[in-house]
């Protein structure tokens, strides 16, 4: 598998001086499913936001061999789709179809292509016929799926998802996991939902205080009780031996 994301010596400080990422290096291959796990403030979301240049720290970030620069941001944002934790941050238009069309419109696609992408994206998340609904009238689970549809409409090769299952009821959570399983591309999760990580990702990277604590197979990492406790997490129930 070829390396599609390469991060070398990445550091990032917020305006208040807090260091969110410290000299972090990692590589992710095509079609890999990787989880970033760690306690609150570990740097998971900050790292995700670096993947399509929303945040730009010191160090090298390469996506499909292209260095992340102002001049190629549009190109990289076509490749990497970011799902924000709160779907209300992602759905800002008066109707669902306008929200889904927002990305493709920025890509300057033809009108017919955009309409077909809106339809296909809604079908992918199982919400056909929601085109004219207003986002504020949807349930939280529906909002999350529509937010995911806004990414599908961009046809990204990489999905970077920030807490995709947070605040979802079990049924909506299951639906979302099934949708993500069916996605044909690279998936990167930043989450506390370790059961979801077990189900979706073969590789896990544990972060603490902006540094990589451990990188390896999901099962090995999540079953390591000491590591889990050190990184403010706990072993998922399904891995606890009776």
């Amino acid at each position: 598998m070829s390396e599609i994301i390469s991060i070398k010596n990445l550091s990032f400080k917020y305006h208040d001086g807090s260091e969110a990422l410290k000299n972090l290096s990692l590589a992710i291959s095509e079609n890999e499913r990787v989880a970033f796990v760690g306690g609150n403030g570990a740097g998971k979301s900050t790292l995700l936001l670096h993947l399509n240049g929303i945040l730009q720290g010191e160090g090298d970030v390469k996506i499909y061999g292209k260095e992340l620069r102002k001049s190629n941001l549009t190109e990289i944002r076509k490749i990497v789709g970011i799902l924000f934790e709160d779907p209300d941050d992602q759905l800002f238009c008066p109707t669902v179809s306008e929200d889904i069309a927002f990305g493709p419109l920025n890509l300057e696609l033809s009108e017919n292509e955009i309409k077909s992408r809106v339809k296909d994206s809604l079908a992918k998340v199982g919400l056909e016929g929601f085109e004219n609904r207003s986002p504020h009238r949807l349930s939280y689970g529906e909002k999350k799926r529509i937010a995911l549809a806004t990414l599908f409409a961009m046809e990204p090769k990489i999905l970077a998802l920030d807490e995709p299952t947070s605040n979802l009821d079990p049924k909506s959570r299951r639906k979302l996991i099934e949708i993500l399983k069916s996605f044909n591309g690279t998936v990167i999760l930043a989450t506390h939902d370790l059961e979801c990580v077990l189900e979706l990702c073969e590789r896990t990277i544990v972060l603490k205080n902006g540094e990589i604590l451990k990188d390896g197979s999901t099962r090995d990492i999540l079953a390591n009780e000491k590591l889990m406790l050190d990184s403010d997490l706990e072993v998922p129930v399904s891995l606890i031996k009776n």
Binding site: D88, L91, F92, N106, N132, S134, H136, R137
Partner: protein, 237 residues
């Protein structure tokens, strides 16, 4: 989210709702513009416009009590402005009544339009009559996020009430200012996040939209009939 304060009666089936939102918007604008050209103290034309408004109200099937409540509340500032200006006029009473009636009719047609038209359709109709895209986007954001902020306000208010036993006015005042400050902070954070999400989907600063469906000949005829009703009276009276 259980709020419905913009387009509460958008799902009511009526002759008015059969007219496309763009045509409804144009009718309403034409009503207001033609009304503003009615010469002072021409009571016959004003009553004629009252009749047209009642006809549109009848077509829209908007509940009368709701209509009255909304229009009266919204027209209070218009009344106060007319009242203060009327002191400078010789025939105060008549001038006040005439000007207030004109503004009340304008407010009324807009209340009918907004209450019966889905807000997103109204925004897209504004876009079609070449209202600048920035204003359209701002209206869209206001519509989308006003519900969210009302929810936030209610939730903050609940948490305040759940921890308050005292009925002191001073305490209430400080709670309201704290809630306002929190809402301000939330709105700043939200705007930053929304901007990030726009950027992540390729936004580069210019808003783009899809083209709209075409208007049928029947809809254009409806608009023409209303225009004749508004303009024709000037030639008769």
């Amino acid at each position: 989210m259980h709020h419905d304060f913009f387009d509460k009666y958008k799902d009511v089936k009526s002759a008015w709702s059969e007219i496309k939102p763009l045509i409804r918007l144009l009718i309403s604008i034409a009503f207001v513009i033609s009304l503003s050209f009615v010469p002072m103290f021409n009571w016959i034309i004003i009553w004629y416009y009252c009749f047209i408004l009642m006809f549109i109200l009848f077509l829209s099937r908007l509940p009368e009590l709701y209509f009255l409540k909304r229009t009266i509340i919204i027209s209070i500032p218009a009344f106060l402005i007319s009242l203060s200006a009327s002191f400078l006029k010789p025939n105060q009473g008549e001038w006040l009544l005439f000007v207030f009636l004109k503004s009340y009719l304008s407010i009324s047609i807009m209340v009918i339009l907004i209450s019966t038209t889905p807000f997103p359709s109204l925004i897209s109709s504004l876009e079609r009559i070449f209202v600048p895209r920035l204003i359209i986007s701002l209206l869209g954001f206001v519509y989308r996020y006003s519900f969210l902020f009302i929810d936030e306000f209610e939730s903050l208010e609940r948490t305040y009430k759940s921890r308050t036993i005292s009925k002191s006015f001073k305490l209430k005042k400080s709670a309201v200012s704290n809630i306002s400050a929190t809402l301000f902070r939330i709105s700043l954070e939200k705007s930053e996040k929304v901007h990030q999400s726009m950027l992540s989907r390729g936004f580069t600063g210019s808003f783009r939209t899809l083209s709209h469906e075409k208007i049928s000949a029947v809809q254009i005829s409806v608009l023409t009939i209303f225009l004749i009703l508004f303009i024709g009276v000037r030639f008769i009276v």
